[in-house]
Symmetry: C2
Subunit: 607 residues, 2 copies
């Protein structure tokens, strides 16, 4: 297959920006001056784990300040938001990365992205010893990247030897009791944390993990609890680019973090992570080509996180009435007529995507705004990816509102959303569990609603042989002739009438009880494809087409049938051609009606 | 219908927070102390114009600093981003709202949300006179709110009389040449701008307009050009809440702006605007209940703008092969067989929602990653809401890549996306316009692909009467007997064979040319519902059901048909019962095949 235009695009951007040699290598740590000014890599990783990369995307470099927001996330997990907030603020300072920036009275660092806040953060990481505390930090980044990482020993030693300013900050934090222990081993861990080696692709993966709600897209591991993802992204958005934060939001609009190693990680929540690397830095300590690449990507690909059209999408995939949609059940004419006038009292909403307040609000508005008298509301969740807590609560409130007003609300396809089911059942309490009505899919939910309309009893009352659907329009003598060919037979509940693949040996007419047709899915599961009520025929397709049975027919409860052997059905051509003709015409009418209802459903689905 | 749970929810929040009487009325403008400390309103407006409101949501108050980002948007429209940026920065200061905060050498205000930046912004609004300049500002807010607004004259005079600090800032800006004219009338306009009266509902509507990409949701008016919406939201996100900005992003996570009148406007891009009002302020000049309400709404409704699950949704609604989907064309058996083995070489992707880089990337990946030999790719855009510039470019690149590799890529349903069509055609240039292949919908696109596989000529070659589909399995003598009842007839191109509603007087067998069935839509438009190729029958449904014609039948090119009058078809029951039986059986087989293919398509669509 041809190249991906995405790959072509990042290669073009890379070629275009590689020529810019402005900026200088970081010199505040002697080791960093050994970098090659030509190095330049770009990588994009999507929230589902696809990666596009170009240039020196596999060149290792030290993570430096890019480590800060992620260790902050670890501290949040260790202590909770409240405790961490008491130690470290979240307010941007407009100052440079290495400014000391402590609040005047408390000594609390303004935010976790300046060195003071980051050192305090490293001090918050729990562990029995300083060594295990560092191992937790290294392990954190390994889980974000989904690969083994190591520390650049030379950079670490260089930082440790020359980091006087950071040592000063550490002691100042100890002075203010922000650090409540000897700052020296914490500073060593901080220097080692900054010296972890990553590459561009790793950064993109770290970003994609945040974009994916804290779950590493390739390994599937939950690296950061979902509730803290927003917090980490928030400090990146407000303080991630030091005194360039405002302009960064304005021009690039992606929560991001840069490091003096030359790396930048940026995140478009829900969608992707970007890793760029080039060691030539500007005055603020940000990678020159890195910033340019991020600006270009954001502009060309419309990635600004406040871009509104991207985030809009309809929650309602289809809205149908009971008259539009088909169930799996074959009902006799009387029931079809009873329902035809009332199909509009059933409304079916097929929802899709991630349900949250804004999307569910439109659903509530639509459901509550219906003009026609509605008695049943089916919410089909079969295509919903996730239901957040606010969406769960609003859907539950809707259920209660509708039930109190005398309506019935039915869910379908909610099986993957166990938390939502639990929420509803626990809030309903033991006395009202029956208000939680759930079916496998919307067709089954609709069938239940129809049965409610017909009344449980009426929905499967017996049919006398003379009233059989396929004998409609027959004269009494013709009926008698056909019925004479049929043999009554009964089946116990759960008994198999015929099996998928059997030769077609007869046509069946159901006179009492309920039967259903099931097929075997490739997964080995049985799926019900049709249900039959007294008065209708089954097994006619294989007879018409002279093909093996396409489904297994099972009696749901005890059933009575009339069985017309295939040779007698064929023999009618000789013995009673007029009867056979009428049977064929009635079969054609059934198929023709079926085609019309299928067309009506298809039209409703494409509205 | 019952109450909306959304309305119930905001009423509950309102009742809960109304009891908090902490904070104080603003006193820096004497007039503001006349406010009633009990006032408290909440309103939410969605990006499609629904409003929920409670409490004192209609109580007018002065807009104050909330005006700043919107006038900044007007300045961006008047001068462009570059010129405005040279006058006013976008960097948060961490300082209080009334700090002078000018860059030390240039005197450039740090950002447009502090008073210095806002006064400079007001100075940038164009107009012949200071009066027309103010009218443009007032008109701007009227267009955002969709209603008439006025200025609170008393507050304006009070501000004008006591605004010494702002006057100092104005003269300082003049000193640095940021303002290049007499600052006094600009200051008057700034005081008047701050004294515009709005209510909570207005603020929610202003927010909803930004959430809706700059288009007022109710009036449909484009109030702010889409390209500047991100810029306005960016300065709100980074500097909208003064020295509370970092904590606001961390805790609430919505671009927002507060004013000392007691109002706060907050925006969830793509979804909604929030307006809250309560005149009791905290030390930073933000409404106490307003902040609490926003925090509760954000937390309870999961509105944080960096919340990732909300923004994810699949771009591909359905993926099908040519073997799964049905066209509108009825083909003879030979063509069906030729296609049945090759249906998998056609892939159909039905896309949905707003197409942007992240969503289109998944489409490219899917299309380019197909394993089976694919020759035709159909992208159906019928359910796409919008295509941004990056998505347009990537889709175009995909078209070029696939064409160069010998594939054909076909679009359908792109009619509402004229800009995308223009983009493709202009980038194809005059010589390659034929690479832009577009059809009304995916079924028509599929039909074209099938015709390509069959070869244009083969797809509509003549059929000899003996090979007609419905005569399959007939003995020669039976064929002769039926053919003897038929009359040859011809139709010119575009001639009508029969009309919707006509009585069914005959069955037709097409032997050459192409015909199609059309229905009249309620809109008055004609829609093609079926197409016929030589060898197939048409008009049989009405004959079977003895009902009026359900569609109008039109010869597309010159057609030859055989016509079997309905009385002869019925008469067969007497004269040739065996032939009539066989015809009915063949009709049953056609309908049965049709049902199977409909079931297959439905199964594929529900996969």
């Amino acid at each position: 297959m041809p190249n991906s235009p995405v790959q072509d695009y990042i290669e073009a951007i890379h070629a275009e920006l590689a020529g810019d040699n402005s900026g200088a290598l970081a010199d505040y740590i002697p080791e960093l001056t050994h970098a090659d000014p030509e190095w330049f890599g770009i990588a994009i990783a999507t929230a589902d784990g696809a990666v596009y990369e170009t240039g020196h995307s596999r060149q290792p470099f030290t993570i430096q300040s890019i480590s800060k927001p992620f260790v902050y996330g670890l501290a949040l997990e260790d202590h909770g938001r409240g405790d961490v907030f008491r130690k470290i603020g979240v307010e941007p300072t407009g100052d440079a990365f290495n400014s000391i920036s402590l609040e005047s009275r408390s000594g609390r660092p303004f935010n976790p992205m300046i060195n003071a806040g980051a050192i305090a953060t490293t001090g918050l990481v729990l562990g029995r010893s300083h060594e295990t505390r560092f191992q937790r930090i290294l392990d954190l980044f390994q889980r974000y990247c989904g690969s083994a990482l190591s520390v650049d020993q030379a950079v670490y030693e260089s930082e440790s030897r020359t980091g006087h300013r950071n040592r000063a900050i550490g002691h100042m934090l100890r002075n203010f009791n922000v650090l409540q222990e000897n700052p020296r081993p914490i500073l060593e861990n901080y220097f080692r944390q900054c010296s972890i080696l990553v590459n561009c692709r790793d950064l993109a993966m770290i970003g994609a993990t945040l974009a994916n709600g804290g779950v590493q897209p390739v390994t599937g591991e939950a690296v950061l609890r979902g509730e803290y993802v927003e917090s980490v992204l928030s400090v990146m958005a407000s303080c991630g680019m030091y005194d360039f934060a405002g302009e960064w939001i304005y021009r690039v609009g992606l929560p991001a973090k840069s490091g003096v190693g030359g790396g930048i990680v940026a995140v478009l929540p829900g969608h992707l992570g970007i890793g760029v690397f080039s060691p030539l830095l500007d005055d603020r300590g940000n990678s020159v080509r890195g910033i340019q690449a991020c600006q270009r990507l954001s502009l060309d690909l419309n990635l600004h996180f406040l871009n509104s059209p991207r985030s809009r999408r309809p929650a309602i995939r289809h809205r149908l009435t009971g008259a539009d949609m088909r169930t799996r059940v074959q009902r006799p004419a009387r029931q079809r007529e009873a329902l035809s006038a009332l199909g509009n009292t059933i409304r079916i909403y097929e929802l899709q995507g991630s349900l949250s307040f804004p999307t569910v609000e439109t659903v509530l508005r639509e459901v509550l705004g219906e003009g026609f008298p509605v008695h049943f509301v089916i919410l089909d969740l079969g295509r919903v990816c996730s239901i957040d807590t606010s969406a769960a609560r609003l859907l539950f409130d809707l259920l209660i509102q509708l039930c109190s007003a005398g309506f019935r609300m039915v869910f379908s396809g909610a099986r993957p959303h166990a938390a939502f089911r639990r929420y509803c059942l626990s809030h309903l309490g033991p006395e009202r569990q029956d208000l939680w009505l759930h079916f496998c899919d919307a067709r089954d939910a609709l069938e239940w609603c129809e049965d409610q309309i017909l009344g449980e009893a009426a929905s499967c009352e017996e049919c006398s042989p003379g009233d059989l659907e396929l004998l409609a329009g027959f004269q009494d003598s013709e009926k008698a002739a056909v019925l004479a060919l049929m043999r009554a037979c009964t089946f116990d509940a759960a008994e198999t009438v015929f099996r998928e693949g059997d030769p077609a040996d007869a046509l069946f007419f159901l006179t009492s009880g309920r039967a259903e047709a099931r097929i075997l899915l490739p997964s080995g599961e049985q799926q019900t494809v049709a249900r039959f009520r007294p008065g209708v025929a089954f097994g006619e397709m294989a007879v018409i087409e002279d093909a093996p049975r396409s489904a297994t027919l099972v009696a749901v409860d005890a059933c009575s049938c009339l069985r017309l052997p295939i040779e007698d059905f064929r023999g009618l051509a000789e013995t009673h051609p007029a009867i056979r003709m009428r049977l064929l015409e009635n079969l054609l009418a059934v198929l023709s009606r079926d085609r019309r209802s299928a067309n009506r459903e298809a039209a409703a689905l494409h509205r």
